[in-house]
């Protein structure tokens, strides 16, 4: 027996799906800008393990010679990205949904167990509510990363008018470096997120679109119990 259980409120779903293309556009236009001074790498001293990015990457994605366009797009979509982000955070705060997203005292231990389970080093998954500890940490982390991207972005957008912010972040070049690595962080999040969504299956995916989940009635007792409802 399965029954229908509400999982994601409508507002959360809209924020989620609006942020997806906006984050993509910010990253893509950001790459158009980054190309003009692509100085970051992973390496030690003279030796470079990986340069961000190889020429073939720019060529294949057609990212070259588009700095002006990239800046115009970046400074256009930044408003929508920030507006959606502020609305999302305000909604979390005032609806009480933050309780399901912010990590609690058990999240770290839970996250370790979930990760071990996902890596097949642990047989049973720990019991969980709407989000497990790993998810809470990841989703809260993404909110903080977005906040960091806006702060570092402002510092490199207006390093003189907001010189205090640029100074706080270690100066203009350092703020730009942080801004870049936050973008890489979003890419990493995206890859893991998509992999986990595929793994979790259809019901989970549908819940982010339609809002509900079909739950085994036997299981429901456990879920209700664990989420403390």
């Amino acid at each position: 027996m399965k029954h229908l259980e509400e999982k994601h409120p409508l507002a959360i779903r809209w924020f989620h799906w609006i942020s997806f293309p906006l984050l993509f556009l910010m990253m893509w236009s950001g790459l158009l800008v980054y190309w003009a001074n692509d100085i970051y790498r992973v390496g030690w001293g003279e030796s470079t393990l990986f340069h961000f990015f190889p020429d073939g990457f720019y060529q294949r994605l057609n990212l070259q010679q588009r700095l002006a366009e990239g800046m115009a797009l970046h400074f256009f979509f930044m408003w929508l990205f920030v507006a959606n982000g502020i609305a999302y955070v305000l909604y979390l705060a005032f609806s009480g949904e933050w309780r399901k997203v912010l990590p609690d005292r058990d999240s770290l231990r839970d996250a370790v167990q979930v990760t071990l389970h996902d890596l097949r080093l642990r047989k049973d998954a720990p019991p969980q509510g709407l989000y497990n500890g790993a998810q809470r940490i990841a989703y809260t982390g993404v909110i903080l990363m977005a906040f960091g991207s806006v702060a570092t972005g402002l510092a490199i957008y207006k390093p003189v008018q907001l010189s205090w912010l640029a100074e706080l972040l270690g100066g203009y070049p350092m703020a730009r470096w942080f801004h870049f690595w936050l973008m890489i962080g979003f890419c990493s999040f995206f890859v893991i997120h998509i992999a986990q969504v595929i793994r979790a299956g259809w019901d989970n995916f549908r819940s982010m679109v339609a809002g509900f989940s079909l739950v085994d009635s036997a299981k429901e007792v456990e879920v209700v119990h664990d989420s403390g409802k």
Partner: protein, 247 residues
């Protein structure tokens, strides 16, 4: 509720939600296609240009002479400052014959200013960062006269103008500036870099140093300065860049 009802409910909600999402995605794609197909204004689709103008309004509201580029220390100075751009720096230039042409009051006030006159203005030294629009930075020790002092001395009528335009002698490179940025206390008409006279490649005999703008506005080899209420043309703004380019 019977199991059939439940499944029906789930199927109906799923269908409705995916249709809504499809419609939203189509609307988003439609908006994107619309944006990409807009006529270009100064090298960039007009809605983007329009938002750049709005961003400028926001930036101008926050702009203040009190917001300054941090004063850096001599140890941070880059001994070989990178340079970009040689538009307007053609070989046919004769430094000996150079004078600065200054116009204000819609061309009613015109005069020529010599290097010696500029050097008589209070000399200001500052160690500030130059931020290239490409994303790199150099720290330079600049010396020159404040543009505000220059204006008061040689074009006091220009104080009321909304904009300042500058050109190279061959008119190949030109920048447009809003008056508040031009009159910012860190904006210099510069004749020395890192303790030596300007090299030709860095804009001898006189260049602009304007830390509240990207490097592209720091015009080298200035030949003409115009105080005006008409927004002056700008070389890189014609190529799709933000006209304001304020930092």
């Amino acid at each position: 509720m019977t199991p059939e009802n439940r499944n029906h409910n789930a199927a109906a909600r799923t269908r409705r939600a995916f249709l809504t999402m499809g419609a939203a995605a189509a609307a988003g794609y439609g908006g994107w296609s619309w944006l990409r197909s807009r006529p270009v204004e100064g090298g960039v689709a007009w809605p983007l240009r329009s938002v750049l103008r709005r961003n400028e309004t926001v930036a101008e509201a926050y702009f203040s002479n009190g917001h300054q580029s941090p004063a850096l220390s001599p140890s941070q100075v880059d001994p070989n400052p990178r340079r970009n751009g040689d538009v307007g720096l053609g070989d046919d230039f004769k430094p000996a014959g150079w004078v600065l042409n200054v116009e204000s009051s819609a061309g009613a006030e015109r005069r020529q200013v010599t290097m010696a006159e500029i050097r008589e203005l209070p000399r200001v030294e500052q160690i500030t960062q130059l931020n290239c629009i490409e994303g790199w930075t150099v720290v330079v020790q600049w010396a020159g006269a404040r543009f505000a002092d220059f204006t008061d001395k040689f074009a006091p009528q220009g104080r009321g103008a909304r904009y300042v335009g500058m050109q190279t002698p061959d008119e190949a490179y030109f920048v447009g500036l809003d008056a508040p940025s031009a009159l910012h206390p860190q904006t210099l008409l510069c004749y020395e870099m890192n303790g030596a006279g300007l090299s030709s490649a860095h804009g001898a005999p006189l260049r602009l140093v304007i830390p509240v703008k990207y490097g592209v506005k720091n015009i080298k080899r200035i030949g003409r300065i115009v105080y005006t209420n008409n927004r002056p043309e700008d070389y890189w703004a014609n190529e799709g860049y933000d006209w304001y380019a304020g930092l």
